[in-house]
């Protein structure tokens, strides 16, 4: 049975973007045009525990401006989120979240030069599972082709909603600002 579930899970995962659906259509979360929640999957990969992992992906349209020298940079793009809610049947504690936030598809444009700015930020965070979680993080960015030694810093914040019963991420919004 576990094997069948695992195969199913892997099969769903392998479909990748093909299973993307709108927030409103799949999760019942109030429609937000800027966020797409992917289908959630639940896997049972442990052979020594009944722990489960429910993984929900989200593509969050995000934008905002980072001010500073030598120029302000306006960012926009899609943040790729993956929230894996992991249960703890062994100790009976609340589930926890392994949250991945990938900003590599978010790019910026310099206000005075029009030059492109990029980031390779891929953050993985441990979080407690709560219905409404606000996540703040900073990220380095550079002018496209620039040296990492010239990095500047922006701030991203996300408001995440979880269904704490189904363990799914149900909504996400985000914005970028100066740290």
């Amino acid at each position: 049975m576990k094997t069948r579930r695992l195969l199913f899970t892997l099969g769903v995962r392998s479909l990748g973007g093909a299973v993307l659906a709108s927030v409103a259509a799949l999760s019942g979360f109030p429609a937000m045009a800027q966020t797409t929640i992917t289908a959630s999957t639940t896997s049972f990969t442990s052979t020594s525990s009944s722990t489960s992992t429910t993984t929900t992906g989200a593509l969050v349209s995000i934008k905002g401006t980072v001010t500073g020298s030598p120029e302000s940079v306006s960012f926009s793009g899609q943040a790729k989120l993956s929230a894996s809610v992991v249960t703890d049947p062994d100790f009976g504690n609340s589930p926890n979240v392994v949250l991945s936030i990938d900003l590599s598809n978010v790019t910026g444009v310099g206000s005075s030069t029009g030059k492109k700015y990029v980031t390779s930020s891929q953050e993985v965070l441990s979080r407690r599972l709560i219905a409404a979680d606000k996540v703040q993080l900073t990220f380095p960015f550079v002018q496209s082709g620039g040296s990492p030694t010239t990095s500047r810093v922006g701030a991203a914040s996300f408001n995440l909603s979880y269904n704490v019963n189904s363990l799914k991420l149900t909504g996400a919004t985000g914005q970028i600002a100066s740290p």
């Binding site: 020594s48 249960t87 810093v153």
Partner: protein
């Protein structure tokens, strides 16, 4: 768990203190050998899972009528009025490098263990008056002889003791005082975690040479080191200040050496003995790759600013190691007690001289005075949180098998220090030397750090980060911070973002603002190291962080001999019952979907063939904990997390030796098994998990004579090491 919230009532504190005292009595009986853990479980003191029973007055986690919301246990470690960031952070104490070990050391080092007999102290367990035993604790005979001792004879001797706390009167930071926050190296240094805290008792802390600051060994490729470690701990096992074991085995983490020098958990040695560890310091693959030493990147620094080519794969160059105790079932206690040091390895690429521009040297921040190994701008940081009792003496709760957390952050064994820096680039080699705590490090202003190495191996490219990845126990993150962006007089702090409520895993990675708010219940969240920008550099900063560091070895052409799976979880059982080599605990490892087994260093769980490559998948068997899994010997490359390379962050895409699994997660790695043989280990580096009993033995045993297949298990006694056949060989081990 070792701390209570700040607003805890006095009655709750009294209750917790009483529980602590009760547990201390049990702890002492356990440490003294008056009872065994199995007996405690039978009596209901421990649960079947090994945790302390949920009894009021015994377990401080038990909620009393008014304490249901209190998540933690014991009274906070008193600070005796000490303020944060009020004392300088001492640089590491560099151990002397002595040329020609064969004349410097007495007795002369030997390929095989020196079995000269000495009269034993009858205070040792199992010793009768008049008994004799060998002066060296290394197992005797050809199997435990130093491999390659004739090809790589030691050229440097480093000698250290393990002993009780005492003042340091010979501190050698190997930098001038202005690079050490003004510390006068000639002044005697008492063993205190801060000048305002009490001096540690002789059996409260056991360190290398009995002193602080922590020790640093300077090495370079192709200059083999003979590290002679003397055990000068008390002969009486009961003289341990409540925790810690007087037998030790010193693991050079993650040395690419023969197993006899690896600090195998079952190759421990006793007070009154020494153990000679031979660290040849060779590039992995030296037997098959670049054997003619023609590649200029595979090289070691000479003493005159030049370099000498050496055999091996330059892409296997390593830089930042540490060494620590690996005593079976007592690693957590002994490391926490002070058995931890660092080891910087220098190469032509990572020279420790930022001024030499020869096309190979990466010129990372370091200094220029010496040919190699300059430390002015290359700073070792050992992070470890501690706890102490009402008298200020180091304390440890050995009853929580889920993990131990302290409540006071130390850097280089100093409570929340400051460090003076110049307006230029610095390299920091950050070691998580905690027992169970994960860190997640940022700067207080969220500015960028460049991570250049992971687990002591330079990454393919530097990775800019405003907060480092979670850093599990034993992981080393080398970073570069450019302080030229600050003004003289400014301060910036290193901040820990990872919040724990117990020793199983971090619960929450906070934002910098949250961590600085002071609202966390975890006293080790927030600022822990203050950088004071004090001056401009006297000479221009010529160091670099080049866009390319060390690419990973390309293993794609090397066939995969086989795959193995290891699942790390709870509910382990034992299939062996050797009084020396087995240990029962709640944690265990399931190999290739077999049983979840508790540790037995007499059991062979895997035996890769010499000269092959394998792919191993490490799985977390539960969701309520994380495990930083350490595999000894040669670095691996991470192929996937949860089945995909896309889940592997950039800073993990180098070579590693510790692999955090994350709750419910898995990681797939590939490793080569070459150059050396013998028995090695794989274990959780949450050392409480390791000790209880998440550890297995694997071995490379078919490399030719003198190796047998499988290898006999060493069983140390003060009278000498005996050997016996393995208790168990898992059915998939040798396939």
């Amino acid at each position: 768990m070792f701390f209570l919230p700040r607003n805890t009532s006095k009655s709750r504190l009294r209750e917790a203190e009483n529980a602590r005292r009760n547990r201390w009595e049990i702890l002492k009986a356990l440490a003294d050998g008056q009872v065994t853990r199995r007996e405690l479980i039978k009596w209901g003191i421990f649960t079947g899972f090994g945790a302390l029973a949920w009894k009021h007055g015994l377990n401080p986690f038990v909620g009393s009528a008014w304490a249901d919301s209190i998540p933690t246990g014991l009274p906070t470690s008193p600070l005796f009025g000490v303020q944060d960031f009020s004392t300088p952070m001492p640089r590491f104490d560099v151990l002397a490098r002595n040329p020609n070990p064969f004349t410097f050391l007495s007795p002369t080092p030997m390929a095989q263990s020196n079995q000269t007999q000495q009269l034993l102290n009858p205070a040792l367990e199992g010793v009768a008056p008049g008994d004799t035993g060998p002066i060296e604790g290394r197992p005797p005979g050809p199997i435990w002889a130093h491999q390659g001792f004739d090809v790589f004879p030691p050229r440097i001797a480093v000698e250290a003791t393990q002993e009780g706390a005492k003042a340091n009167t010979i501190y050698n930071p190997q930098v001038a005082s202005q690079f050490n926050s003004g510390i006068d190296p000639t002044a005697s240094i008492p063993l205190k975690f801060h000048p305002g805290l009490p001096t540690q008792g002789v059996n409260a802390v056991w360190t290398f040479n009995g002193t602080i600051p922590p020790k640093l060994v300077i090495g370079r490729y192709a200059e083999p080191i003979l590290f002679r470690h003397h055990n000068k701990l008390p002969f009486d096992v009961r003289q341990n200040g409540g925790f810690g074991r007087h037998t030790i085995s010193t693991h050079e983490h993650n040395g690419h050496h023969g197993a006899e020098n690896d600090g195998f958990t079952g190759a421990f040695f006793f007070p009154g003995q020494f153990y000679d560890y031979h660290w040849p310091i060779v590039l992995a693959g030296f037997r098959t790759v670049n054997t003619g030493a023609t590649d200029p990147r595979a090289a070691t620094p000479d003493d005159h600013g030049g370099k000498i080519n050496i055999p091996g794969d330059w892409r296997e160059t390593m830089s930042t190691h540490w060494f620590h105790d690996h005593m079976f079932s007592f690693t957590s206690q002994n490391v926490y007690k002070g058995n931890a040091a660092m080891f910087n390895i220098y190469s032509a690429l990572d020279r420790g001289n930022e001024g030499i521009n020869d096309g190979v040297n990466l010129r990372l921040p370091s200094g220029t005075l010496k040919s190699f190994g300059n430390l002015e701008y290359d700073v070792n940081l050992m992070l470890a949180e501690k706890a102490w009792d009402a008298n200020g003496q180091l304390a440890m709760d050995i009853f929580d098998f889920d993990g131990f957390l302290g409540d006071r952050m130390t850097v280089n064994l100093t409570y929340k220090p400051f460090f003076e820096v110049e307006r230029r680039k610095y390299r920091f080699r950050i070691l998580n030397a905690s027992v169970s705590r994960f860190f997640k490090i940022a700067l207080s202003d969220s500015s960028t750090m460049l991570q250049i190495a992971n687990d002591g191996n330079l990454l393919p490219v530097p990775v800019p980060l405003t907060q480092l990845d979670e850093q599990g126990i034993a992981e080393r993150y080398d970073i570069v911070i450019d302080f030229s962006r600050y003004s003289i007089g400014q301060k910036v702090w290193m901040v820990n973002l990872a919040e724990h409520s117990d020793g199983k895993k971090p619960d929450d990675d906070l934002s910098v603002a949250e961590a600085l708010s002071g609202n966390s219940q975890d006293p080790c969240v927030g600022k822990f190291l203050e950088f004071r920008i004090v001056r401009n550099p006297a000479t221009p900063d010529v160091s670099q962080v080049p866009p390319v560091l060390i690419p990973n070895p390309d293993l794609s052409a090397i066939p995969v001999a086989r795959t193995r799976t290891f699942e790390f979880g709870r509910g382990a059982k034992t299939d062996t019952n050797d009084p020396v080599s087995t240990f029962f605990g709640p944690w265990g490892i399931k190999t290739d979907n077999g049983d979840m087994l508790a540790a037995d260093f007499g059991r062979v769980s895997a035996a890769p063939r010499s000269g092959t490559r394998e792919i191993w998948t490490l799985k977390n068997g539960g969701g309520g904990w994380d495990h930083p899994i350490h595999i000894h010997f040669e670095e691996g490359q991470v192929l996937a997390r949860n089945g995909s390379l896309n889940n592997v962050p950039a800073a993990e895409r180098g070579r590693k030796d510790v692999y955090r699994l994350r709750p419910g997660g898995s990681i797939t790695i590939t490793m080569q098994f070459r150059d050396w043989g013998g028995m090695f280990m794989e274990h959780c580096h949450n050392t409480v998990h390791e000790d209880n009993a998440m550890l297995l033995r694997w071995e490379i045993d078919d490399g030719g004579a003198p190796f047998l297949r499988p290898l006999p298990t060493p069983i140390p006694t003060p009278q000498g090491v005996t050997f016996r056949a393995p208790d168990d060989i898992l059915p998939t081990a040798l396939k």
